[in-house]
Symmetry: C2
Subunit: 478 residues, 2 copies
């Protein structure tokens, strides 16, 4: 490129964004494929929508994300922005394609973007995995969302708890407590903090405000004292005690008696409870929790959320609920809808914290070393034979001549087995197989530099016809 | 949501973008997974980079995409833009993480964005699937890229041809023809049109310009006449005739004799040819074509490109080459690199055109109808049993009471089999299984409305214990 001045640019990732390195990308993919398989068993169908939407479609939903859009101008001079969730694009699709089959049960796994202040562990781009049922007003659809989510998390071998409640119930409670109509959404956003801050701080935030651990002043909603007292009563006699697993139907009876106007909500929660039992989901894993509020404006019925039992402070790993009003934002028609969203990157981060994400980058399970570059045709043929047996394999492409350095590359990548062949092996019709993971199994601390010597014991020479069977045996063990 | 005025927004997709509907999304996923499996057999490791990069990293590469950025400002006031390819982010990553293992062989499958003028079939967002080898200067790395691409396209059961040539060879040819040094990149961009416009129009574009089919004037490069005549000579005696499959090594000998300074390029092309033969790839599928130019500035060595034999006018479905100078844009160090990019959405569009993308949306293979809503627990249990046998199944969630309408939904979605159970079946311990695809197999034109009647023949009642075996048999046939 002699025409262009070689301007140098500092390589750096945009603030609040990050690169997903191979071991993380592999973990993310495993998580996505496991979730996808669960959702596909339920018959949800895939949908992909563009990364950008018109700003008018994204604005004014009261959702936190809609306040922090990455906005820009299209080449046609129109105001567009990166999507901040997958629910609003779905509502847009449902309103736009009038002849979609109903029910329309779709999944979407895609990145979303929020121009928030980045925190450690909080990024401006993250992948969500959503399922939604559009066109179904019955609780069966909500229950199915929870069942499919439950199945996905079980398939990921996670120890979790799903809690569900109802926006309708919360509305009854707020009316009963005397919270002014116009303050109900603000109140719910504070109630949503119950798990994080506890009852006393929550009540202070509903009333006069409070000072947090770092001494910062948090403004209160200034609700009237009697309302705050009634909410205290509710939390102490219901929300806190009803969380006990298995208390579902009893708790509902008491709620119905205590909260005027809660009939419809209690009936729906009861139906949910029954479907979950039919599905043989244990109450300890999925159960009623009337302290659940969820922060989004657009919920209109049942709401649900899951947390990891091993990492309770990690926050929700999925959340969702019924939103019967969202589609009508794009047209006359009110379309019932319910769904939930898994924070895939959050889940991967949690699994990393639980030590469930291997650190090795390699996809290959076998590396062909190159002792004698003149023999390249033979090395390529050997590598091809391993691949054809269904074992991911790479041939060493670097410039290191010494086997020691080639082993060090394999070891660093986490490739468990290497093949070695020189003139001796070619003459004898054999190949040497070295299990690099054997040394590691004995001593995790074996430095890469010393690994070669320590691991000599893990080397065997076999005939060409034995190569594949031996590799298969080794890799099942390794 | 009583607080908010119910503003209505017209539902529409941003110009130049599109929704990927379920049958397309499923096809795209199958294509991606097939390609991924091929690349993983070669041991390429996954990497994900953010959708956005700093503008300075993306600008000034001479790449078409870099002229059409979706630019915006980060919350921190910095100039950022959506990535337009996956190669520049890789170069940034390699320069940024100094201790990456070398060789670093990665794959990435992600959307990219270009603020081009949208055309029919040309979108502003599309998915690319790239593999690259970083840190390897030898032709073996280029050959491996082509082999892995060849394997991926074979796995997709496509009829294609990969052509390769060399930027170094083109440089020798342009010097030999007397093309002024400063015009070489412009010249290559015109040479890249050879397949599209043919030799005569190409030569006019190199010289005085031409008028295209629609009467528009296309400016010529104004190269000196002797240079254009030498290029004609080259195309007539080499490029056009050398394309014959199998002519590789002979053609190279003639090139070496005809073009002064082509020694290094010819040696590399010869090495490529030998590796491909070792890999037993037939010359008719992958071969030398010295008319290949590729439009990107940054190539420095071997270049390659594939087209579909059934859809030659569809253009390249993958392309790539060696770019040893790109990483040094981000730092002092020159890092050898080579790679290629598959246009996934282009490939899916081609497969749609070839009739290889089924129109049905369904993921579920079985739908449980709901005859008697009181029996919901039984229907849920039946559905669960089907799922547990590994067969994707959904329960009908809609409000249609009649079986006919429920069948119509299944038929429209493309669900091949439905289950029916009413009091008769429950009492007898049986279930009815109806093969909706049977009618379709007989007559593709059977209208949804009439399908129910026509397909009655495809119904059988079996005992509960026979249900799963019968479903498995049916679905393997269906």
């Amino acid at each position: 490129m002699p025409e262009r001045p070689p301007a140098t640019v500092k390589p750096r990732v945009v603030k609040g964004f990050r690169d997903i390195l191979p071991h993380q990308a592999a973990a993310r993919r495993r998580v996505i494929e496991t979730i996808r398989a669960a959702f596909e068993r339920y018959g949800f169908v895939p949908l992909d929508t563009p990364a950008v939407e018109y700003v008018d479609a994204l604005l004014g939903l009261g959702e936190e994300g809609s306040k922090n859009l990455f906005r820009f101008t299209s080449p046609d001079g129109e105001e567009i922005a990166l999507r901040y969730d997958l629910t609003v694009p779905l509502a847009r699709v449902v309103a736009q394609y009038r002849d979609l089959p109903r029910p329309f049960r779709r999944y979407q796994v895609s990145p979303v973007w929020r121009a928030d202040k980045p925190d450690p562990g909080r990024f401006r781009e993250f992948v969500q995995f959503d399922i939604d049922s559009v066109g179904v007003p019955t609780v069966l659809a909500d229950a199915e969302i929870v069942m499919a989510m439950d199945e996905a998390l079980c398939a990921l071998r996670l120890d979790f708890r799903v809690r569900y409640s109802s926006r309708k119930l919360l509305n009854s409670i707020l009316r009963w407590a005397g919270v002014p109509e116009g303050r109900s959404m603000d109140t719910m956003r504070v109630l949503d903090k119950f798990d994080k801050i506890g009852l006393e701080d929550l009540l202070r935030e509903l009333g006069p405000g409070r000072t947090d651990a770092s001494g910062d002043r948090i403004r209160g909603l200034g609700l009237p004292d009697p309302a705050v007292m009634k909410l205290r009563e509710f939390y102490e006699t219901h929300a806190v005690t009803d969380r006990a697993p298995g208390g579902g139907l009893d708790a509902l009876t008491r709620l119905f008696e205590a909260v005027p106007g809660s009939g419809e909500a209690v009936a729906e929660l009861g139906e949910m409870e029954r479907y979950l039992r039919i599905a043989k989901i244990p109450p300890a894993r999925v159960g009623l929790d009337t302290s659940l509020a969820r922060g989004l404006d657009y919920y209109t019925g049942l709401i649900f959320e899951a947390t990891l039992n091993d990492l309770p402070r990690f926050g929700a790993i999925f959340g969702g609920g019924r939103y019967d009003g969202l589609v009508s934002r794009f047209g006359e028609e009110a379309v019932p809808a319910t769904g939930a969203s898994i924070g895939v990157d959050r889940l991967v981060a949690a699994m990393e914290e639980l030590g469930r994400v291997p650190k090795g980058w390699a996809v290959a399970r076998v590396m062909m070393t190159v002792m004698d570059p003149e023999r390249m045709p033979d090395y390529l043929a050997l590598t091809r034979e391993v691949r054809e047996a269904g074992i991911p394999a790479e041939i060493y492409l670097g410039d290191a001549k010494s086997l020691k350095k080639q082993f060090a590359y394999a070891d660093r990548m986490g490739i468990p087995v290497v093949l070695i062949a020189g003139s001796n092996e070619f003459e004898a019709g054999t190949v040497s197989i070295k299990d690099l993971s054997e040394g590691r199994r004995g001593s995790e601390e074996a430095a890469t530099r010393d690994a070669w010597v320590k691991q000599r014991s893990g080397q065997q020479t076999v005939s060409r016809s034995e190569m594949i069977p031996v590799l298969k045996r080794l890799l099942e063990v390794a």
